[in-house]
């Protein structure tokens, strides 16, 4: 059902992305000289305005007003039409809420966190630009705009990862994110082009309507016939794998933690990395046509979930643990998408945004208090210094590990239950998911115990400066904590409460209902299993880090190869580094360094020698003499005349 939007509605929807964009413009233009450390007075109202409008848009959608409008056509020429339009349906409405609400909180948090940074205005400018791009990505009604948003959020992410560009590791991490994402985006771009070539349109609705027509068609690649839809879906999924840091392109995300913590929370936990999930859900009509693609999504998701969780077990950097946890949780979301439970995936995306942002911001609060210390081995016992942070951390951890009636419980459970229903493959993936949940519980509590319990292991000076963060930091934390507790209450399984799964019903017009049947007994079993592993993981962690703190070291020594394997993240980074990253970086360095020599010097000294010498030669025609110029003019006229005589006979 679509309603003809009024002008007011159009203005409203246009304003949602426009407000952060204006904030970006104002900050980038005036920030350096005029606004400086007042940048948040521009950015926060803008993003809060977007939030208010997003709420209003959500209410519209809830009242059944799904809107698909071309706000304007950028280029219209014959069949080729590039338009800028919004599709505001249930899916984008939820995404809008998530993006704008989390952004608002993180913007406020950043006021405290980035206080005194020389690039304060720049930070808010980039962050606003990011929000703008993300909103465009979410609101787009065609693939081209989606692609624009996709690349733009990537660009902002690279800027922000490398925000402290004088820090070499930060600059490197930015480069790494850029290069790794090239692989995914290349596939994504190819997918979009293939869609245009085969379906003749980039508009979502037209593509989805026409997609049925190409089902069963094949495309010949290197002499082998492939199912066309499958190829398209897998290419699109390539993009999602890159952006959402799934196996095997997950390597950039942990490094991206070099960026400021609000960036990690906003971009690398709550919003941008979930763009892949959103995109797959958005293009679900295509994915539904290809069982192969769906299974690929599910398997990649399941493997990533367990794989990243194992790495997180032994990491010592607080942000890296959370980063691997993010990768793992994103795996859950893909797992849900892959089994056709799109709304479960989006539900988890939504709850995850809150508790993961909370974890990141909480860790930011810790890092801030410790003077940029990120190694958990140098923390401990912070409970008494930072009670507020400790409390919200506990809430987030309870939520992520799936303790009943918190947000994470409902969404994770929904996923596991949907997965469980999908035959043998489903059972296997469910097992992976449940195992990952056990690991999640373990490493999450490990993080708490290493950070907040025991004795402080840092330097005296750090201890001397230990303090609870100011309200500007803790208040957003509490807001997020509310989300981490309550966000899941919109998706209570029908088995526990009738009509409890309101989010699933809400999203059904866009994403459909998940297929699959299962008895109540099975469902209770799945729930019980996940509660069991959550508690089990907690208890193990408690035993290893509180009761007998010597166990981890003993275990590490005993199973040294495994520990080493996990600690070094399966050496995947090293592998990529040798095979892909180093060569690419070298190439990039050469290109960037060579820019001077090749392009600048080149034009003067003649590396594009042909054109240049040509140019120098042609310059000599220009003698500077009036008579010669007149002669050339006369000869030109004569040539035309002679040409006429010759050709017209």
């Amino acid at each position: 059902m679509q309603y003809a939007p009024t002008v007011n509605a159009m203005i409203k929807y246009t304003l949602i992305p426009l407000l952060p964009f204006l904030a970006f413009i104002i900050n980038i233009l005036l920030g350096r000289n005029f606004i400086r450390d007042k940048a948040h007075w521009v950015a926060i109202p803008a993003v809060f305005g977007s939030f208010v409008l997003a709420v209003s848009a959500f209410i519209d959608v809830a009242n059944g007003q799904v809107i698909n409008i071309d706000v304007y056509s950028w280029i219209v020429s014959g069949d080729f039409n590039v338009s800028f339009g919004f599709l505001i349906d249930q899916l984008s409405a939820i995404m809008l809420l998530v993006v704008t609400s989390i952004s608002t909180l993180i913007f406020i948090y950043s006021v405290g966190y980035m206080h005194g940074d020389p690039g304060y205005y720049r930070f808010f400018a980039y962050l606003s630009l990011f929000v703008f791009s993300m909103l465009i990505l979410v609101m787009a009604n065609n693939f081209l705009l989606l692609y624009f948003g996709w690349e733009a959020v990537g660009l902002c992410s690279y800027f922000l990862i490398g925000f402290w560009f004088h820090k070499k590791s930060a600059a490197d991490a930015g480069k790494k994110a850029f290069i790794v994402n090239r692989f995914g985006d290349f596939g994504f771009g190819l997918g979009v082009i293939l869609i245009f070539l085969t379906l003749g349109s980039l508009d979502y609705m037209e593509v989805f309507n026409r997609a049925g027509g190409i089902a069963g068609q094949t495309i010949n690649i290197l002499g082998t016939d492939f199912d066309l839809i499958t190829v398209i879906c897998l290419l699109l999924f390539c993009g999602a794998v890159g952006k959402s840091a799934q196996l095997p392109l997950h390597v950039w995300l942990p490094d991206a933690m070099e960026g400021p913590t609000p960036v990690s929370a906003l971009i690398h936990a709550a919003t941008m990395v979930t763009a892949g999930v959103f995109m797959v859900a958005r293009t679900s009509p295509l994915f539904n046509l290809s069982a192969t693609a769906m299974n690929t999504v599910a398997v990649v998701g399941g493997l990533t979930a367990i794989f990243a969780a194992t790495i997180a077990l032994v990491q010592n950097d607080i942000k890296r643990v959370i980063a691997y946890s993010t990768v793992s949780q994103l795996g859950y979301m893909f797992l849900a998408l892959g089994v056709g439970a799109y709304s479960a995936g989006i539900f988890h995306l939504y709850t995850h945004a809150y508790f993961k942002a909370l974890l990141f911001l909480g860790s930011g609060s810790v890092i801030h208090a410790l003077g940029d210390e990120q190694d958990m081995r140098n923390m401990g016992g912070l409970k008494k210094f930072m009670p507020q942070t400790y409390k919200v951390f506990i809430i987030a951890t309870l939520s992520i590990t799936g303790i009943p009636f918190l947000a994470g419980f409902f969404s994770k459970d929904e996923i596991l239950w949907r997965v469980y229903q999908q035959g043998d493959l489903g059972k296997f993936l469910w097992f992976l998911g449940t195992a990952a949940a056990l690991l999640t519980a373990f490493y999450s509590w490990r993080l708490i115990y290493m950070t907040f319990h025991g004795k402080f292991r840092g330097t005296d000076e750090q201890e001397h400066h230990l303090h609870e963060s100011p309200p500007v930091i803790t208040v957003p934390l509490w807001f997020l904590a509310v989300g981490a507790v309550a966000a899941g209450w919109v998706g209570i399984p029908p088995i526990l409460m009738e009509h409890g799964d309101r989010i699933g019903e809400f999203l059904a017009p866009v994403l459909g209902h998940a297929q699959g049947h299962g008895s109540h007994a099975e469902e209770y079993f799945v729930i019980a299993a996940s509660i069991f592993v959550a508690v089990a993981g907690w208890l193990i962690a408690h035993r290893m880090y509180i009761k007998k703190p010597e166990i981890p070291a003993q275990l590490g020594a005993k199973y040294q190869p495994i520990h080493k394997l996990l600690y070094n993240k399966y050496w995947i980074d090293e592998l990529y580094s040798k095979v892909f990253v180093q060569p690419t970086l070298k190439l990039a360095d050469k290109v960037i360094l060579g820019f001077d020599t090749i392009v600048i010097e080149g034009i003067v000294n003649g590396i594009p020698a042909l054109i240049d010498s040509f140019s120098q030669g042609l310059r000599r025609i220009q003698t500077g003499l009036i008579s010669n110029y007149g002669l050339v003019m006369t000869l030109g006229a004569l040539c035309m005349l002679i040409g006429y005589m010759v050709f017209s006979g």
């Binding site: 310059r619 000599r620 220009q622 003698t623 500077g624 003499l625 009036i626 008579s627 007149g630 002669l631 006369t634």
Partner: protein
Amino acid sequence: MVPLSWYIMLSAVMFSIGVFGFLARRNLIIMFISLELMLNSVNVSLVAFSHYLQSMNGQILVFFVITVAAAEAAIGLAILIAYYKNNPTIKVDEINLLKG
């Protein structure tokens, strides 16, 4: 009556002489005069056509050409004087500071 083609040929020859003078001579004043010759050759042909076609348009244009030529002469001379004050030369092959 002199036939039209004679006038046209006269005009063409004058125009060619003007173009040649402009291209071949090295003295700015002579070039200037050559330009005037070109304009006047046009006037000849315009008047001839106008008479031949019994249409006044050609002669009206001649009026305008004459007056514009006067304005052009004034401006051209002014520019020439301004140039000469800074660089006392009227040899056209010495005027090539701007080139390339």
